[in-house]
């Protein structure tokens, strides 16, 4: 597809011979909010790491806006990992300066305004911030870019409902409308209302990729309900989805 922002062809990733992603073909267009959904350990983080160039495919290929992951694709991808990536020597001013230096699409004024609304001062050392504040600061940095593709890995996992609202509002009010947001999560209920498309991953394979409206129409239930049905846990360790 020529209008694809993300294109994966026969993408496979193995760790030490054990496949984590198997033969994935995927096309995602521009200007969408896409949920990457699946239980823990199904390859969501691996797929996102491949898209942002932190991992290399074992087989197959990935194109981001027609480019193999590299400096050019990284310049248009804004990535929120499921880990805190701050250096312990930095203060808020340092990390804002770093983003401004390296990313042409970084809107420092917007980032500073969001920091101020959270009470984060430029001279505040990141090391002394609470875990919640660090997570929010990382989200502010990522969402203050006018990126073509936002890769958000489990942004709402392990946070309280108030923080979850803050995170979702920050994402929805700040992403560039012509950009695509790919959110990985297993907490579908909280994000279903904002999704245009959903991708279901199971055991390293894409078992379903469709618009959310189509899923609801075809299956006659919410995406959350569909997800729970597909991935219902059994005593044997999980029910397989029948295509």
């Amino acid at each position: 597809m020529s209008d694809s922002l993300i294109s994966c062809q026969a993408l496979t990733k193995s760790y030490g011979g054990a496949p984590v992603l198997k033969d994935i073909d995927l096309d995602i267009g521009a200007g969408r909010i896409v949920g990457l959904l699946g239980p823990n350990g199904t390859g969501k983080t691996t797929l996102i790491k491949l898209l942002c160039g932190l991992l290399q495919p074992t087989a197959g290929r990935i194109l981001i806006n027609g480019m193999v992951p590299g400096p050019e694709s990284k310049a248009i991808v804004s990535y929120l990992p499921d880990k805190m990536y701050f250096a312990d020597w930095m203060n808020a001013r340092d990390i804002l300066g770093l983003f401004e230096d390296f990313y042409e699409d970084f809107d420092r004024t917007r980032a500073e305004a969001m920091c101020a609304s959270l009470g984060i001062k430029p001279g505040d050392r990141i090391k002394t911030m609470s875990k919640g504040t660090k997570e929010k600061l990382q989200l502010i940095l990522v969402m203050s870019r006018r990126a073509r593709l936002y890769l958000l890995d489990e942004p709402i996992a392990g946070v309280d409902p108030a923080a979850r609202d803050y995170i979702m509002n920050t994402i929805l009010t700040n992403y560039s409308p012509d950009g695509t947001v790919l959110i990985s999560t297993h907490l579908i209920g909280d994000i279903e209302r904002v999704l245009d498309e959903a991708i279901f991953l199971q055991d390293g394979r894409v078992i379903l990729h469709d618009s959310v409206d189509n899923m609801r129409a075809v299956h006659g239930k919410s995406v959350d309900a569909l997800f729970r049905e597909m991935f219902r846990m059994t005593q044997e360790g999980g029910e397989q989805y029948a295509r």
């Binding site: 290399q56 880990k83 990536y85 020597w89 340092d94």
Partner: protein, 275 residues
């Protein structure tokens, strides 16, 4: 982008190092006077002896700490700054992996050079200043006015020595980076494996060195090393002789840097797997 990467690596070092450098200078300055005071006093009582020995012990401890801290921070800036959580930031910047490696190596080399200069200045500060000034004056006079080399040649040799010294620092840093990158190839105990890799590299270098020395002693070899040494021995003047020696040292370090860089860069490009 390389310049920006170097800037941020230097920034990380400069959050702490200026204080340590200043401490080394101030401590040497204070000890200079303490030592003069107690060495002039009758060193018979315990208090006088302690007054003489304690400042020296504190100073030596400070200099050792400076060296160890420099080493630890250089290792941390690469291990934690690229291959732990911070790697999620560094390796998603729009730069190439080789730029990350080179930037870290340049920043670490700059910090090590400054630390070395600070250490030398601090040792000189500790001594009798009049004596030091006189000795340095004599040394330079002897170097620049002798029958073997001209003043210009002496200046050139000094510049060569500085370059060889800097490349020597860079090769030590790159050897650490290469060992850490090789340790990254393992799924578990990456820190421990990096230490093992460093030991392995040292053993290989030592074995290579021994082979070269053995060949020299027993004259078993007629390869390029012999050829190079023959050229050195045939040099008709002192300047040429020392310069060729320097060139040899430079090449040994430069070849190592190229090998370490390629290994490190390839691993970070193709086998990166952050925890």
């Amino acid at each position: 982008m390389l310049g920006k990467l170097i800037k941020y690596d230097l920034k990380s070092y400069f959050k702490l190092f200026p204080l340590i450098w200043l401490a080394a200078i101030v401590l040497a300055f204070v000890n200079h006077f303490t030592l003069r005071h107690f060495s002039e006093a009758e060193a018979s009582g315990v208090a006088e002896l302690l007054g003489l020995v304690l400042p020296i012990l504190v100073y030596v401890a400070a200099i050792v700490t400076l060296a160890v801290l420099t080493l630890i921070l250089i290792i941390r800036r690469f291990y934690s700054g690229a291959l732990k959580e911070e790697g999620y930031l560094v390796f998603t910047l729009p730069v190439k992996p080789w730029q990350i490696v080179v930037a870290k190596a340049i920043a670490a080399t700059i910090v090590t050079i400054i630390t070395s200069v600070v250490t030398v200045i601090s040792v000189l500060l500790l001594m009798d200043w009049a004596e030091v000034t006189r000795a340095i004056g004599e040394l330079f006079h002897g170097l620049f006015h002798n029958e073997y080399i001209t003043g210009g040649q002496c200046a050139a040799l000094m510049a060569e020595a500085v370059i060889v010294g800097i490349v020597g620092i860079a090769v030590s840093i790159y050897r650490i980076y290469c060992a850490i990158a090789l340790g990254h190839l393992f799924n578990k105990h990456r820190g421990g494996m990096a230490v093992l890799m460093y030991i392995a590299i040292s053993i290989v270098l030592s074995a290579l060195g021994s082979t070269v020395v053995a060949n020299l002693i027993f004259g078993l070899d007629t390869n390029w090393i012999d050829e190079f040494l023959r050229k050195i021995s045939e040099a008709t003047n002192t300047f040429g002789f020392i310069s060729l020696g320097m060139l040899g040292l430079f090449l040994v370090s430069a070849v190592q840097i190229v090998i370490y860089h390629i290994v490190t860069e390839r691993i970070l490009s193709k086998r990166l797997n952050l925890e």
